[in-house]
Symmetry: C2
Subunit: 228 residues, 2 copies
DNA sequence: TATTCATTGATAGTATTACTATTATATTTG
DNA sequence: CAAATATAATAGTAATACTATCAATGAATA
């Protein structure tokens, strides 16, 4: 149980921020509005100066919360993974049957995001969009190894580790559970991206298709092993 | 045959460059050295000024070949996909059996890159590294849709389309051939990235593992369909 | 042979970005 | 009320991502 609900309040590594944005009104406005703005103009076009203008605050005040926009992106995406991890744990916790559990997990991970009213200043739908379009930029950097050591990606890694365990529970003989877990998580984001920008490269056009595709992929692979 | 060998000389969309870098000595040095430099310091740290310094040329001269570093990245990655497409077509062309053909295709796409002496000024191994670490930055932009219309991603899309057809030939009933094709291509790059930076998230640590993993995934999924 | 033409190099200049530093002002708390 | 804290305002800096102009060179051509 100790790891269960590990991120309910969605606790984010202290090192990512200078001052906790949850601790003040300005901090919450920074989070709320940065989501809208990054979603709108993209991470490259986004600057603290523009954000300050939008929230009627000053650039220098935003720097008191985050060292730079890269750290802010790490904060937002960590929050997203923590939130998704909570959905995953909550929805699968009571399921005893390992196959049913995995099926549910794949559904949670690959379904389109729906708004969660529990966190009023965060728009999860737009945040999911940001994760689709910007997440890989947060780790495809030359600083990845030091930042990883600092623990900036723990929630993401823990999420995949949980998923990995569920795959393992279904078929302990399967040789690639971690790869399958990371492929489904990353692949799901990618299929949503393709749907919007390179539609000829995906078959997941209708709601539910991405879930069906990955469920099919996982269970044929795992069942085949069990039968073989 | 018309599309076969479509990219042997590795022809890249004219709109990506101002002046064809293949047409001059300086152009080739720009390509050669930019590969070394981006691999070394990363795309974010890379500038035309630094490149000019390294090749003993001037920043302004490089701008006569490429509008900006984003276009240069598009050029390099397009070249890579064209080169890989050539490998794919060449290696699978003579195979009649559809399953054997697909197996070979997965191998070509997921295996580690080896140096090709046919293109002396291009280091394919480093270029593959650049594709792993930087490719997604070339399309995760706000300009994606206009750039896609301009045809900046045709080689990449054609590559996946060929792969898609091979999957289809093995199992025409399978509902997600394009998704499977794009998942394997993108997923393979991702597994190589994980191996180096988040090793706990992958099982592909030894040479050949990535190929085995995706071959297993594809054939269990497709065979299951055929038997079901 | 002289010219002109294309390529490259050198220099300067601009707007923007990504900050840092300092000081002022407002608000909260002891 | 004093002190501490948070935020705002302003200024300044180095680097980036260019654009523009002009000079030097060398090759092709009249």
């Amino acid at each position: 149980m100790e790891r269960l609900f590990g991120s309910v309040t969605i606790k984010i590594n202290d090192k990512i921020f200078v001052k906790d944005p949850q601790s003040s009104d300005l901090g919450k406005r920074i989070i709320e509005q940065s989501i809208l703005m990054i979603n709108d103009i993209g991470f490259e076009g986004f600057t603290f100066k523009k954000l300050g203008l939008q929230i009627g605050s000053n650039e220098s005040s935003i720097y008191r919360y985050f060292e730079n926009k890269h750290k802010l992106l790490l904060y937002l995406t960590s929050w997203y993974w923590g939130w998704l991890e909570y959905q995953l744990v909550f929805a699968t916790n009571s399921i005893a049957d390992t196959s049913e559990k995995l099926k549910k997990a794949i559904e949670i991970i690959t379904r389109p995001t729906v708004q969660d009213s529990a966190f009023s200043h965060i728009n999860e739908v737009l945040l999911n969009n940001i994760v689709i379009n910007e997440y890989s930029k947060s780790y495809l950097t030359k600083e990845i190894d030091t930042e990883n050591k600092e623990g900036y990606f723990v929630i993401y890694k823990r999420m995949i580790e949980r998923f990995n365990e569920m795959i393992n529970a279904v078929d302990s003989e399967y040789k690639y559970p971690s790869s399958l877990a990371s492929t489904i998580l990353e692949g799901s984001l990618h299929q949503y991206f393709l749907k919007d920008h390179f539609p000829s490269l995906t078959d997941c056009h209708e709601k539910g298709d991405t879930t069906k595709y990955f469920t099919d992929l996982a269970f044929h692979t795992l069942n085949a092993k069990q039968n073989g």
